[in-house]
């Protein structure tokens, strides 16, 4: 028996050694400066979520072109390889492996869908490939496991829901009833759970008059709008986005629902250019971050203007938040490579050295600085405001903005969001910054 185990162990050891040699070969190639830096980028290129995915790809193409003109990363030109995440997670998992094993990418940017990110992060552990979660928002990724090679370069669901709730509690503290109408998928359900948990402790006793989760990609909300008109809630929450949100807002506007209830729309920014003046003034709007075109005090106004102008010049539309999230991921990548190359005395980092450079990294965006915590989660400020119109933009932009510092509205490391939200008390409201006039 012992002999058999020993033989098996010997065989396994030989196999492992052969495998290590193969991988060492790849590693050795990776450690020398490559002729190009290949980056796999998963995004929605088809289906209804392509309203986010295609603009993000456009932003990536624009920024990589600029980056390559400026000499690339550490003198190495960058080549993005885009993969459509619309066919689903099974397909994406296969594509992730293909990108790493066949294409030899050094880095992966994944993904818009939370389901995609939940599928990709275990692969980053297994394949030891640094993976930037560039847009997905689920809080589960870093709260339910450790992922040494995964980093999220923007905020996530909890601050993106808590900040609008806090804004509502400041702006309209006397509301007594609420209705929710979210898309029927993970984000729609999770965001309502986060909102309800926080609302129940920060303002107990609010009556929920309707909970509706129409199917993702619904093309008609007229019945839901009728029900909301009949229920007359003080507040209507919708974390919906894309065509679903545009249809909901248009049908609500046509039937004067905005006159009866205050809307809270945490993910509305990308839809506002499409809606133009159809969007009503005086309702609470968010952008999954702080990157509004009329940010009251961006860290680098010239860089923000340069990016917005370049994007508009090429694509004839304003960049929306997935474009900014893509830009953040690229900034983080540049900063991490610079840090890793410096730490290695000018040498090209391997996978482990690159991942180590990401941990605790602080990088600049046009509007602020983002720090990646020890668990890999980025701390991105949130700006929420009231929809308003001015001479500069042909669509609604926020006024009376509140800038919520990321640390204030993010779940502390090691805790789960729902558990943390339950510990909040009404005193928490005293810590909310004052609105910025304008």
């Amino acid at each position: 028996m012992t002999e058999a185990v020993t033989r098996r162990a010997t065989l396994l050891g030989a196999g492992a050694t052969a495998g290590s040699l193969l991988f060492a070969g790849g590693g050795a190639r990776a450690q020398g400066k490559p002729t190009e830096l290949k980056i796999g980028i998963t995004t929605f290129l088809s289906g209804s979520a392509s309203v986010f995915g295609v603009p993000a790809r456009q932003a990536a193409e624009l920024l990589f072109e600029e980056l390559n003109k400026a000499g690339g990363v550490g003198g190495v030109p960058v080549r993005p390889i885009f993969v459509d995440e619309a066919p689903g997670t099974d397909h994406l998992v296969g594509e992730y492996r293909r990108l790493v094993q066949n294409e030899g990418v050094q880095l992966i940017f994944a993904s818009i869908s939370s389901g995609s990110c939940l599928a990709c992060t275990p692969l980053s552990d297994e394949m030891k490939k640094t993976t930037i979660l560039w847009d997905c928002g689920t809080q589960r990724i870093f709260e339910e496991g450790r992922h040494p090679y995964a980093f999220r370069t923007q905020g996530y669901g909890t601050p993106e829901v808590l900040a609008p709730l806090l804004y509502l509690l400041k702006h309209k503290p006397d509301f007594r009833s609420i209705a929710v109408i979210n898309q029927d998928y993970a984000w729609g359900r999770d965001s309502w759970e986060l909102w309800k948990t926080a609302m129940d402790v920060l303002k107990p006793g609010v009556r929920v008059v309707a909970e509706m989760f129409p199917r993702f990609g619904a093309t008609d909300y007229s019945t839901e709008v009728t029900r909301l008109l009949a229920a007359r809630p003080d507040v209507i929450l919708s974390t919906s986005w894309g065509g679903d949100l545009v249809t909901l807002i248009r049908q609500s506007s046509e039937r004067r629902l905005f006159d009866r209830s205050t809307f809270v729309l945490p993910v509305s920014e990308p839809s506002l250019p499409t809606l133009g003046r159809t969007m009503a003034a005086g309702h609470i709007i968010g952008t999954r971050g702080d990157h509004w075109n009329n940010h009251p005090s961006p860290k680098d106004p010239a860089r923000l203007k340069r990016f917005v102008d370049a994007y508009r010049a090429r694509y004839n539309e304003y960049p929306i938040y997935p474009c900014h999230h893509m830009a953040q991921a690229i900034s983080a990548m540049q900063a991490a490579y610079a840090k890793a190359i410096a730490a290695k005395g000018g040498g090209w980092p391997n996978d482990a050295e690159l991942a180590a450079a990401f941990r605790g990294l602080t990088f600049d965006t046009p509007t602020s600085s983002i720090t990646l915590r020890e668990d890999g989660q980025g701390l991105e400020d949130q700006i929420v405001g009231l929809s308003s119109f001015n001479e500069t933009y042909p669509f609604a932009v926020p006024k009376d903005m509140i800038l919520f510092p990321a640390a204030l509205v993010s779940t502390p490391v090691g805790q789960k969001s729902v558990d943390w939200l339950k510990t909040l008390t009404p005193d928490f409201l005293t810590r909310i910054p004052a609105p910025i006039a304008g």
């Binding site: 088809s46 289906g47 209804s48 392509s50 309203v51 995915g53 295609v54 603009p55 029927d184 309707a210 909970e211 509706m212 989760f213 129409p214 199917r215 990609g217 619904a218 093309t219 008609d220 007229s222 019945t223 839901e224 009728t226 029900r227 008109l229 009949a230 007359r232 894309g242 065509g243 679903d244 545009v246 249809t247 248009r250 049908q251 046509e254 039937r255 004067r256 839809s271 250019p273 499409t274 159809t278 539309e317």
Partner: protein, 311 residues
């Protein structure tokens, strides 16, 4: 039950109004699919793309008219123009170049070919119109809203939703029934549907009839999309949503049955509306629950007839 009905009669009234508009749109798309299947015996997955292209075309024409400063009522002309353009251009192209080659082939091949066409047309939409939502609601705003009493309150409905959509659906149903039963061309179509070989033997140009019917069905799908366009935001994927629901209607109605499509669309429209009020979690499955319930009792569909198998 009586008490529940009394307590919720006002809400049921609202659900009825919503359901009628919903049913009208479902009918407009499904009837085209049903007609095409009846004559061509092809389950056309690309029907959803024709709906989407009709909607996009109507919005584009409407936006063009608005940019030219034309009066708002021209928005309605845009809806009709879009349906005619899609039916007259895409219909013959698809039938002549693609479908004609697969008549009489296995069902699975027909499904694969029309699904491939659907995928191609989805990408064509993205190439032409991009991925950001497009909307054009001039026809809807032109007519304004109607306040429906609701206890001491009022509920605003758009006149477009209350009158235009159901009105056009009813007119289409009556017009189509009249056309198929009272005109020579309609009777020829029915003859080809009933027995293509016999009709051909009688001197009917079946190839011309299939071309005409497919183009007409494509136009109906496009008209459904055009009519829906003022109420919704056009984004990639709307065709897929539509085709799934249309298949449910056609299967429930009985393949090739126009009145059946109307009744089924009404059942589904009302069922979905009532679900939104009283059991919103079931709204998505209502069409399929209705379909399963009907097919369990009548496998040939509500209005379908049992056909003897030809050996």
């Amino acid at each position: 039950m009586g008490t529940w009905l009394a307590e919720n009669s006002l809400l049921l009234g609202l659900a009825l109004l919503d359901g009628l508009a919903n049913a009208a749109l479902v009918f407009m798309v499904a009837v085209g699919l049903n007609l095409v299947f009846g004559v061509l015996r092809i389950v056309n997955v690309a029907h959803g793309s024709l709906f989407a292209i009709g909607a996009y075309t109507a919005a584009s024409i409407g936006l063009f008219f608005a940019a030219q400063g034309l009066p708002s009522w021209m928005g309605y002309a845009a809806l009709v123009l879009a349906a005619v353009a899609v039916g007259a251009v895409l219909g013959p192209l698809i039938e002549r170049l693609l479908l004609r080659r697969i008549y009489g082939h296995e069902d699975v091949l027909q499904l694969l070919v029309t699904f491939a066409l659907f995928m191609i047309l989805e990408d064509v939409q993205k190439l032409v119109w991009g991925v950001q939502p497009i909307s054009q609601d001039a026809p809807l705003r032109l007519l304004g809203t109607v306040d429906i009493p609701f206890g001491e309150d009022v509920i605003p409905f758009t006149a477009y939703q209350l009158f235009v959509l159901p009105g056009i659906a009813v007119a289409t149903l009556i017009g189509l029934a009249w056309f198929l039963r009272r005109t020579l061309t309609g009777r020829v179509i029915v003859a080809v549907t009933t027995d293509k070989e016999a009709a051909t033997a009688m001197g009917i140009d079946a190839a011309r009839i299939t071309l005409l019917t497919f183009s007409f069905g494509a136009g109906l799908a496009a008209l459904g999309g055009a009519l829906a366009s003022p109420t919704l935001a056009l984004v990639p994927g709307i065709g897929a949503q539509t085709i799934v629901l249309s298949f449910a209607v056609v299967a429930t109605a009985g393949l090739g049955q126009i009145e059946g499509a109307a009744l089924t669309a009404l059942l589904i429209g009302l069922g979905r509306s009532i679900a939104v009020y009283f059991a919103p979690e079931f709204e998505v499955v209502v069409p399929y629950l209705i379909m399963v319930a009907v097919l369990l009792v009548r496998p040939q569909g509500l209005f379908g007839v049992i056909e003897t198998r030809r050996v």
